[in-house]
């Protein structure tokens, strides 16, 4: 795998991979050959999987069973992978960016087991929402409130198409709630008043949003094209690019959301391909130290912070989606037809 191939080439090779997988999957009578595992992975951790997780799993499986396992991985937007699997894509294991996408596959009955029955509730990697600013932070951005300052141009993708953008907006909303808590200085916070403060922050930041791309990756491309003062995205999206010399800095706000990415065996396909043992071993392998270190090196945070001695510092006021009431509640509250984000966008358009 080439490391720094152009986006177009990456897209093409991805397409080829998908086609290859589909072609391979539709060829009958291959069960006796070397074992084969098909993975559907969201695009962000591609490097971690290609460079270290997949090769080391193959080594591990050879040592354990003496069998060769051929792995075909396709990479694409999390939602698109979920829809492809629902539509018949023959992946045995899915590693996606949000649990909502796994739940959609469960709804379509392609996953029939309780996928959360693993050491970390079905989650294999973690990250936080962070801010990318131009080198040297010329606009002096430190907190979420700075993003709402007049004249600051903000980038995050569209939450309708990007799971990453949902996390970004959830981070802003949660930070707004924390702000309300702080303003109350120890006194009991009124729920509706806190939600109002959060909605206000969200709206003031949304007003400064210049471009909403389809995906987090595209948003980074736009930022690198010179647009915007600050980009809101996954920490693991920014770290590897900064490491490779891109001229920007990363800022982890004190209040931010803890993000976890799930992986699960697709029962329907794993059983049909008779690879359930390999598929389950692969998902278990993702929880192990070796895979966790690979995720850490790729800019993720290990799912179990206590396991890692070299993990990055925890943000002071980290919150999880469960602190905010769980994925279903939050996504309805923010992105539903009457959601806070939806309303903010509509009010801004009407000039309110």
């Amino acid at each position: 795998m080439s490391t720094e191939a152009g986006a177009a080439r990456r897209g093409l090779s991805m397409l080829l991979l998908v086609l290859l997988c589909m072609a391979a999957a539709s060829r009958p009578g291959e069960a006796a050959e070397p074992r084969e595992l098909i993975l559907a992975i969201y695009s962000v951790p591609k490097e971690a999987y290609e460079r270290s997780i997949i090769p080391s799993f193959q080594r591990y499986w050879r040592q354990r069973t003496g069998q060769e396992v051929r792995i075909r991985a396709s990479y694409g937007a999390s939602g698109a992978q979920a829809r492809a699997i629902i539509g018949g894509f023959e992946a045995d294991v899915a590693a996606l960016s949000v649990e909502g996408d796994v739940e959609q596959i469960v709804k379509a009955a392609a996953i029939s087991h309780d996928w959360r029955q693993t050491p970390h509730n079905g989650m294999v990697a973690a990250s936080v929402v962070a801010l990318g600013v131009r080198k040297g932070n010329p606009k002096g951005i430190k907190t979420w409130e700075d993003l709402a300052r007049p004249g600051i141009q903000v980038l995050y993708p569209n939450p309708k198409t990007s799971g990453g953008a949902m996390w970004d907006i959830i981070a802003i909303y949660g930070a707004g709630l924390k702000q309300a808590e702080r303003n109350a200085s120890g006194k009991k916070v009124d729920q509706t008043a806190a939600a109002e403060t959060a909605a206000g922050l969200l709206k003031r930041i949304q007003r400064n949003v210049k471009v909403m791309d389809k995906s987090g990756r595209e948003s980074v491309t736009t930022f690198e094209r010179g647009v915007g003062d600050v980009i809101v995205t996954y920490e693991n999206e920014l770290l590897p690019r900064i490491k490779s010399g891109r001229p920007y800095d990363i800022i982890v706000p004190a209040e931010t959301v803890w993000i976890e990415n799930p992986a699960a065996v697709i029962d329907r396909n794993a059983d049909r391909h008779k690879v359930r043992d390999v598929a389950e071993a692969f998902v278990a392998f993702l929880h192990d130290k070796e895979a966790q270190t690979a995720f850490l090196n790729a800019g993720f945070r290990p799912i179990d912070q206590s396991q890692m001695t070299n993990a990055r510092d925890r943000p002071a006021q980290l919150f999880t989606i469960h602190d905010l009431g769980g994925w279903d509640l939050v996504s309805a509250k923010l992105f539903g037809p009457k959601g806070l984000w939806t309303t903010a966008v509509e009010e801004l358009a009407r000039g309110k």
Binding site: N158, M212, G226, T342, A349
Partner: protein
């Protein structure tokens, strides 16, 4: 039945079958899905604030792009047909390029030219006009991808137009402007209309270049096709289908209107009416 009749029948069946399979069937299925929950639901879907404003923005931007192409396309076609100059062959072959390159690439090209890091982009930004990520960018992208329609539809009719007609107008004392409006334009009108309407309809559905060039902010710079994409991505196929059908209805109405306006003279409804009106002083 003789073999000739059979051949005719087979040909006709192939043509009809081709159109039915490629266009009609998918349309019927899409329409069926959109109206599965009744017309009321369809109307609710398309009148959601974000959907409605995406539709309105799309139509507005497509109209602007079409107007741009009608004016500059006509001028370009006239220049390409009437005048000889070095490099004309090259210019002529450039015209088709927007059809040949993927619209996504077209978007990248526009973004590269007008991006803040480029020379042109920096200059444009200083002059306080924003093209990229704002509404002008959308119209610009639409105009780019639909540019060949007007030019290519006009060129053959312009070539057929005999210079004698215009010369006669000059002889009768008409100035160049009057001649252009009273002789040239009416003669090439069917070609011009075809080009303009096709450009409009094509602009309505443009996605690839706009998604890169526009800011895609809902109710500000988000067009219908990008809205549709967002609804598909957020597991709302019904909303996506409804808005798609709304765009389709607009396109279809435009094409019906075109068909009416470009019929042979005897049946040319709107135009004969319009001309009759313009003749009465």
């Amino acid at each position: 039945m003789n073999s000739r009749a059979l051949t005719v029948l087979a040909l006709r069946a192939t043509a009809v079958g081709y159109v039915v399979c490629l266009i009609l069937l998918p349309l019927v299925v899409l329409g069926h899905q959109a109206f599965l929950n009744g017309v009321g639901q369809f109307l609710d879907d398309i009148t959601l604030p974000q959907a409605w404003s995406a539709l309105v923005l799309t139509i507005e931007m497509a109209l602007i792009a079409t107007a741009l192409n009608a004016v500059f396309g006509t001028l370009s076609a006239i220049v390409l047909v009437r005048y000889q100059f070095p490099g004309k062959w090259f210019l002529n072959s450039l015209v088709d390029l927007p059809f040949a390159i993927p619209t996504l690439v077209a978007g990248l090209m526009i973004a590269a030219i007008y991006g803040p890091t480029s020379f042109v982009g920096a200059w444009v930004e200083r002059s306080a006009i924003t093209i990229l990520y704002e509404q002008p960018g959308i119209a610009f992208a639409m105009a780019f991808v639909t540019m060949p329609f007007t030019i290519r539809a006009l060129q053959p009719v312009l070539m057929e137009l005999e210079p004698e007609q215009e010369e006669a107008a000059y002889t009768l004392g008409a100035g160049p402007w009057t001649t252009f409006w009273k002789v040239t334009v009416p003669s090439v009108l069917p070609g011009l209309l075809t080009g303009v309407f096709l450009a409009f309809v094509r602009a309505l559905g443009e996605f690839g270049s706009i998604v890169i060039v526009a800011g895609n902010i809902p109710m500000k710079t988000q067009v219908a096709s990008v809205y549709v994409y967002g609804e598909i991505e957020s597991y709302n196929p019904r909303g996506a289908t409804s808005v798609s059908i709304a765009v389709l209805i607009v396109s279809f109405l435009a094409l019906l209107l075109l068909e009416r306006m470009t019929r042979p003279p005897g049946e040319r409804f709107f135009i004969t009416a319009a001309r009759a009106e313009s003749r009465t002083p």
